[in-house]
Symmetry: C2
Subunit: 280 residues, 2 copies
């Protein structure tokens, strides 16, 4: 688990996330904003994002990419719509599933284990080898909350360590994922731009013609700016244009990136700097 | 729904997919291979892919990208490992959720509706407005199979039209998704290269240094080859190299793409043509 001290300002802030206490977004928010941040849960990414736009929350924590399931497009789509927001931080959280049960339970008592289908699939080998029947639920943390409320010593949940803490459950086993390299990248967004950092995310639109991406990437290459990630997305409302989300090394305020972005703006039909920040 | 006539050879083939009859992968396979293809279900993407490698199945149908949830990285990871396979086709399937129930049921009788959590979330407004309680299940098609077996007129499922057909259920309402623009792109893979087509997928590895992507894309740009999609992926086992999956216009056997790919091979540490095919 990555724990990172942050500024006092951040510690007292209201932080929005999608899900319930004990979800992986909650865990990411708790790890990023150590201290006394007030974590506020929302039912959807859209509602959590709106609370940041309206400045009811100072920050929002959103998953954007999982190492096995890929990019979470919905979060990027929402962020691209909300032009007042910027990315001010990033945290990569290892997804470590735990087997949780009531405080009085032990492994021999368990018969049934609840989790999101994805959680059950990711721990299939462990559950099979311990003869535990998987029962699907809405999400990992909701399942943890449910078993805490049911009070049945034979029913467990597959969820995070944070869920155990949130609902007073016991961790019977940890890291029970079949695949160990499972991590989710979260971005921290705010209506107030952050202090900057060594990584910058940029979105730009290009008309769909041969060489247009090549020419725009030339703005970075010519200045030795390192490209960390690129993803293209078709623009639903404009069929002949493409949107690119690019992560590059450096702060948008500093050279050589500042000049590269300036140059880029003359090559593309739309450009927006999503933010400069330090990934942790 | 897109229905496409294909060759006789394809119609008689064994086709592997992940999931159960009535799942969206099943529906994609059924739509692509109209006729008498034998669709064989597998519990995981890995097992389905292995059956194509071993040529027990002539084709495999795999989801690679959903318009709201993004890229399905696991499928690309498996495909990149299996060097004997190539992409020979592509189908984009609109994801249309239906409300299914037993033949004797009507909307007024329903109290409870089962589906994968994602299916319940995507139809939340419809379910709420009809006072239907959502109960999570492992996947949409398994829920349809369950309610067919239960025989309770008050229990329905959110699943595909193909699931209704597979389990003898009635479609009480169709297109009940809150978001209507929901589609999944599937690739068709085979151990036998396909006849080619107007789109080509290529994967290549680059050392992590400024300008390396720019230089490699120059191979396409210089020849007017249109870039349709690009995605970067970190190489887990080689921390300073990146993998890029690129879709370009044209057939790898024809000019100008053949020359561009030849040129590309001298700019990169690894290149593999995944296949040329016609998207439908």
């Amino acid at each position: 688990m990555i724990e990172v001290p942050v500024s006092d300002k951040k510690c007292d802030a209201v932080v929005a996330y999608q899900g319930v206490p004990g979800s992986f977004s909650f865990e990411a928010a708790e790890n990023y904003f150590v201290g006394s941040a007030e974590l506020v849960s929302f039912q959807s990414f859209a509602l959590a994002m709106t609370s940041v736009v309206d400045q009811e929350a100072a920050y929002g924590v959103f998953p954007v990419e999982n190492s096995s399931t890929g990019t979470i497009s919905e979060v990027y789509d929402l962020l691209l719509k909300e032009r007042s927001l910027s990315i001010c931080g990033e945290l990569t959280l290892p997804i470590k599933h735990c087997l949780l049960a009531l405080p009085g339970a032990d492994l021999a008592m368990l018969r049934e284990v609840r989790s999101h289908p994805q959680g059950l699939l990711q721990c299939k080998e462990y559950l099979m080898s311990h003869n535990l029947r998987g029962i699907p639920g809405m999400n990992t943390a909701i399942c943890a909350a449910e078993i805490a409320q049911l009070g049945d010593l034979s029913i467990g949940a597959v969820a995070s360590r944070a869920a155990a803490k949130a609902y007073g459950l016991k961790v019977l086993a940890q890291d029970i994922n079949d695949i160990t390299h499972n991590a989710t990248r979260f971005i921290i967004v705010s209506a107030t731009p952050g202090p900057g950092g060594k990584k910058t995310s940029v979105v730009f639109h290009l008309s769909h013609q041969p060489g247009s991406l090549y020419n725009s990437l030339g703005c970075f290459a010519a200045r030795g700016v390192d490209l960390l990630r690129i993803e293209s997305r078709p623009l639903r409302e404009r069929p002949f244009e493409y949107s690119f989300i690019v992560d590059v090394a450096g702060d948008a305020k500093n050279q050589p990136l500042a000049a590269a972005l300036d140059d880029l703006s003359s090559h593309v039909s739309y450009v927006r700097i999503l933010g400069s920040y330090d990934p942790i």
